[in-house]
Amino acid sequence: MTEKPMTPNLPETDDGLLMRMRSGDEQAFAALYRRRQAAIYRFALHMSGSATVAEDVTQEVFLALIREECGFDPGRGTLSGYLFGIARKLVLRHVERGRSDVALETDVEGSAPLALMVHDDPLTDLIDREGIEVLRRSVLALPQRYREVVVLCDLEEVDYGEAALVLGCPIGTVRSRLHRARALLLEKLSQRWHRRPGVGALKPIGCLI
């Protein structure tokens, strides 16, 4: 018995779907949208902290694609990077207009219920759901230029080269911002841990040595 060679059923590329979409193929548009919308929506949500803004941004990103307003050039990068680039500009515009539903810098200090368990290291909290929520809020509280690299590179797993294209900066800048962003996150998480009631109540009573 001879086996037929398996021909992998590769998904159509973004560029292929885009070409079909531009010739009026609704199915191609739906496929492209479903493939890319979640990452764009999450990016906008992480960046703005607002579901309303994230929804608006996602809609505007794909409307721009439908209307061919921004002129995607496959020679200059991927469609995914191009969509992230539009989303980034739109998020910044929304935030500048003050349409974001949360105050980015203060919301992270909000009163999420805190566990009273005290760990030797605050980062051990990151392994539970509450810890992940704290981390999300800490990301949201980062200054915009650090927040966007963390969201792109650490959360959406965009490679550094593509992130550099999205952000319009050299790849070295992406690396250094990422490094700085992680240091800021550690700092914020440590500060948060030290403000916890369980920790704050432990006042030093004297030096033993």
Binding site: L123, L126, L155
Partner: protein, 208 residues
């Protein structure tokens, strides 16, 4: 490798660095502790990413965008596309007009006495339409320079007329009473031909 050099070459925590990189960590407890914290942070970020993986835009966004896409596509369909057949049809109509004009002139060509001239330039007489021709009578003053074609059908009121600009041999002017030198008879001259609804030439005017 000192602490600064170590961190300068270790920005990508998710990646396993080469063995040589960790020699410094083995010797430096402070960097080892920080590296450990950074790795824990990276792990937390991966968990956050995984936790958010199912998050996506509401279904209504897709509905709105699909409507917008269909609207845009509909507009594009209604918008006059790059109609390749327009120039083809224009040239076909022009060619048909030339043929019609040529056939007409060939059929009704009056006997023109041989007119030799030493002048090489075209002698365009200020001709009047031949007196025996029936004037269509439907041309306005602005159309007064149109010469009705001999024996052409009368233009009916409200008849759909087409005006076609063509290039014909200068010799075609002879049939309408113009004097044309023989040596330039084959040169082209631009003309506008009024075509009736039946596609036949009704009147013509020439442009020098």
């Amino acid at each position: 490798m000192n602490c600064q050099e170590f961190w300068n070459t270790m920005p990508e925590l998710a990646r396993e660095a080469e063995d040589g990189h960790f020699e410094h960590v083995r010797e430096c407890p402070a960097c080892a502790a920080l590296l450990n914290r950074q790795r824990t942070l990276a792990s937390g970020l991966r968990m956050l990413a995984a936790d958010w993986r199912p998050v996506e835009a509401a279904a209504r966004v897709e509905s709105r965008l699909t409507a917008a896409f269909l609207g845009q596509t509909g507009l594009a369909m209604r918008r006059p596309p790059a109609r390749w057949w327009v120039p083809v049809a224009t040239w076909a109509a022009a060619a048909a007009a030339v043929v019609a004009l040529a056939m007409f002139l060939a059929r009704d060509r009056p006997v023109v006495p041989a007119h030799r001239t030493t002048s090489s330039r075209v002698q365009l007489a200020a001709v009047e339409p031949p007196a025996d021709l029936e004037s269509p009578g439907d041309f306005s003053d602005a159309d007064a320079d149109f010469i009705p074609m001999p024996n052409a059908a009368r233009i009916e009121p409200n008849e759909d007329l087409n005006l076609v600009r063509v290039e014909v041999p200068r010799s075609a002017m002879i049939a309408l009473g113009y004097a044309v030198s023989e040596d330039r008879a084959s040169e082209p001259v631009e003309a506008e031909v009024v075509l009736g609804a039946d596609g036949l030439a009704r009147a013509v005017r020439f442009f020098e």
